[in-house]
Amino acid sequence: MEYITASCVIRNNRIYRDGEIVWERSPAGPADFLQSCYQHFGFQYPKFYKMDHLSKLGWLAAEFLLHEGFDPAQCRPEEMAVVLSNANSSLDTDYRYFASVSDIPSPALFVYTLPNIMIGEICIRNNFKGENAFFITESFDAAFIATYVRDLLGTGNARACICGWVEVLGDRYAAALFLIEHKDAGLSFTAENMIGMYNLNQPA
């Protein structure tokens, strides 16, 4: 059986790990939130500054997700999968990149005009070399993600997987990442449990 052994939800200026609030910031948009979070927790990863908002959000959520309890030695790099989704792909950065085109097109922005770059950033940080997939759905389709990830783990294509939802567009952002492992700990790996964590403590 697969279990959700850790979760990180970032919504409404708050970061939750395993359902517990770990940090809160007064509302000021994603740029301020992401930067303040990085500084507040003293992360040391200069590449962070080059990332777009989407990658920063996914990267931070993965840092909190893997912060404690996950032992990377229990999986080979090829056995670690990352399966993410969102509604608006990389549109937040697409707008920014296109604004640069009439002047000098920016390669540093262009590379972030693909949503799976965020998966690449998480893989580089953690040396994960296994399965990847990025899906686009109108809202967080936990049932589909659960189907896909359960298949990866059940067929031996992965031993552990980070999966979930990371969305940024303009002033709106939300992330919900889940660590899925075979070990009997945490919540059972169901769509309902992922949605429950995503909506926990959120205004109705």
């Binding site: 608006n88 296109f98 097109p105 998966i119 690449g120 399965e131 990025f134």
Partner: protein, 369 residues
């Protein structure tokens, strides 16, 4: 394990409106890539495979959506697949979808929503299930086929209609241009003088099924995905991660490296990609097989590339013909490959298709008779 059969396939490209037309052009050595002077797309003349302007006007759909519709439509007619069957799923792949609308001054996020495009296409044909939309850089098309294979194997769906498309616009041209990644002439995959990509537009669609009645059809037999964990815009230095997905795909397909009769490589014609691929193919011990890249004919069709190139491979298998790798003259990689330089007649029982992309992603599939 449940077999996954290819029921039908279709390519809608500047070379032709169906698989047979495309393959017939390819066998004659005709390429879609040519020189264009389109100042609205790029300041200087460039080489690419583009549709003629003006053929994509419809009240309800964009050019991107029309490409998907035109690739899927004949397949549904030909196969009689019922989109309203709850065991049938539509899977779409693209990198940039409707992004060219930015150039028309459109900014409403809803117009760029890939899920929205998916919904409109599903509605157009009457699919009852919400479509699955994959956007995973240049492996999107291969990943869409792998996703379909897995969903059929697990019994979740019986039939999958898999389609991918991308449109070339100023957005994409300027982006690859900003990386100095666009060739000044027709691209030359794996050649010593290769200096970058040509871009291309088009769509590919495949119907896959787990239904035993298609026994005897070509099969999608294995597939796998990996990440380099090295760099977001440059490939692995060693090729180990692509080699790993080739090896895993072979295991998934229950075949050995020496059974591979042909490799349809990604072969973008950038210096780094082709070098990495040559290393990976050698490392995975499939280097003896004839290899081609279709980028010299179609250009890099991005989210459609994995589908178009897999479909050409399927047609190669039906005719036991390997197409020459257009643009190749002199070996330009440190681990030389068996690059096909003339139309070759040879039995093709097991074929490998590979793809790699930004974000460090790699994918491979095995097709067999």
């Amino acid at each position: 394990m449940k077999d996954v059969y290819v029921v039908a396939d279709n390519i809608y490209s500047p070379l032709g409106g169906n698989t047979a037309e495309n393959f017939s052009q390819l066998k004659k050595g005709i390429a879609g890539v040519r020189r264009h002077e389109r100042p609205e797309m790029m300041g200087q003349p460039f080489y690419a495979a583009l549709f003629e302007p003006g053929g994509f006007v419809a009240p309800e759909h964009t050019k991107f959506e029309l490409l998907l519709i035109r690739s899927i439509s004949p397949l549904l007619e030909e196969t009689g697949i019922d989109p309203a069957d709850p065991k049938t799923i539509l899977i779409l792949s693209t990198t940039k979808g409707n992004i060219s609308l930015l150039e028309e001054g459109i900014e409403d996020p809803a117009r760029f929503s890939l899920a929205g495009s998916g919904r409109r296409i599903a509605y157009h044909f009457g699919f009852v299930n919400s479509p699955i939309v994959i956007s995973n850089a240049c492996i999107s098309g291969v990943l869409a086929l792998i996703t379909a294979m897995r969903l059929i194997r697990s019994g979740r769906y019986r039939t999958a209609v898999v389609a991918g498309a991308d449109v070339i616009s100023r957005f994409v041209l300027s982006g690859f241009g900003s990386f100095q990644a666009i060739s000044a002439g027709p691209c030359k995959p794996f050649d010593q003088a290769r200096d970058g990509i040509n871009l291309g537009e088009g769509a590919g669609a495949v119907v896959l099924s787990g239904d035993q009645r298609y026994q005897g059809n070509l099969r999608l037999r294995g597939g796998s995905v990996s990440n380099d964990a090295n760099h977001i815009s440059g490939p692995s230095r060693t090729g180990e991660e692509l080699a790993h997905v080739i090896t895993r795909s072979l295991a998934d397909a229950r075949c050995t490296p020496d059974e591979i009769d042909f490799i349809s490589a990604h072969g973008t014609a950038t210096p780094y990609n082709d070098e990495m691929e040559a290393r990976a193919i050698t490392l995975a011990r499939v280097g003896a097989a004839p290899v081609n890249s279709l980028k010299g004919y179609y250009g890099h069709t991005l989210g459609a590339a994995g589908l178009i190139e897999s479909i050409v491979t399927l047609q190669s298998m039906r005719e036991d013909r390997v197409l020459p790798s257009r643009g190749y003259e002199i070996n330009g990689v440190t681990m030389p490959l068996n690059i096909c330089t003339a139309l070759l007649s040879t039995p093709l029982d097991y074929c490998l298709k590979t793809a790699s992309g930004f974000g460090g992603c790699n994918a491979a599939i095995i097709m067999c008779k």
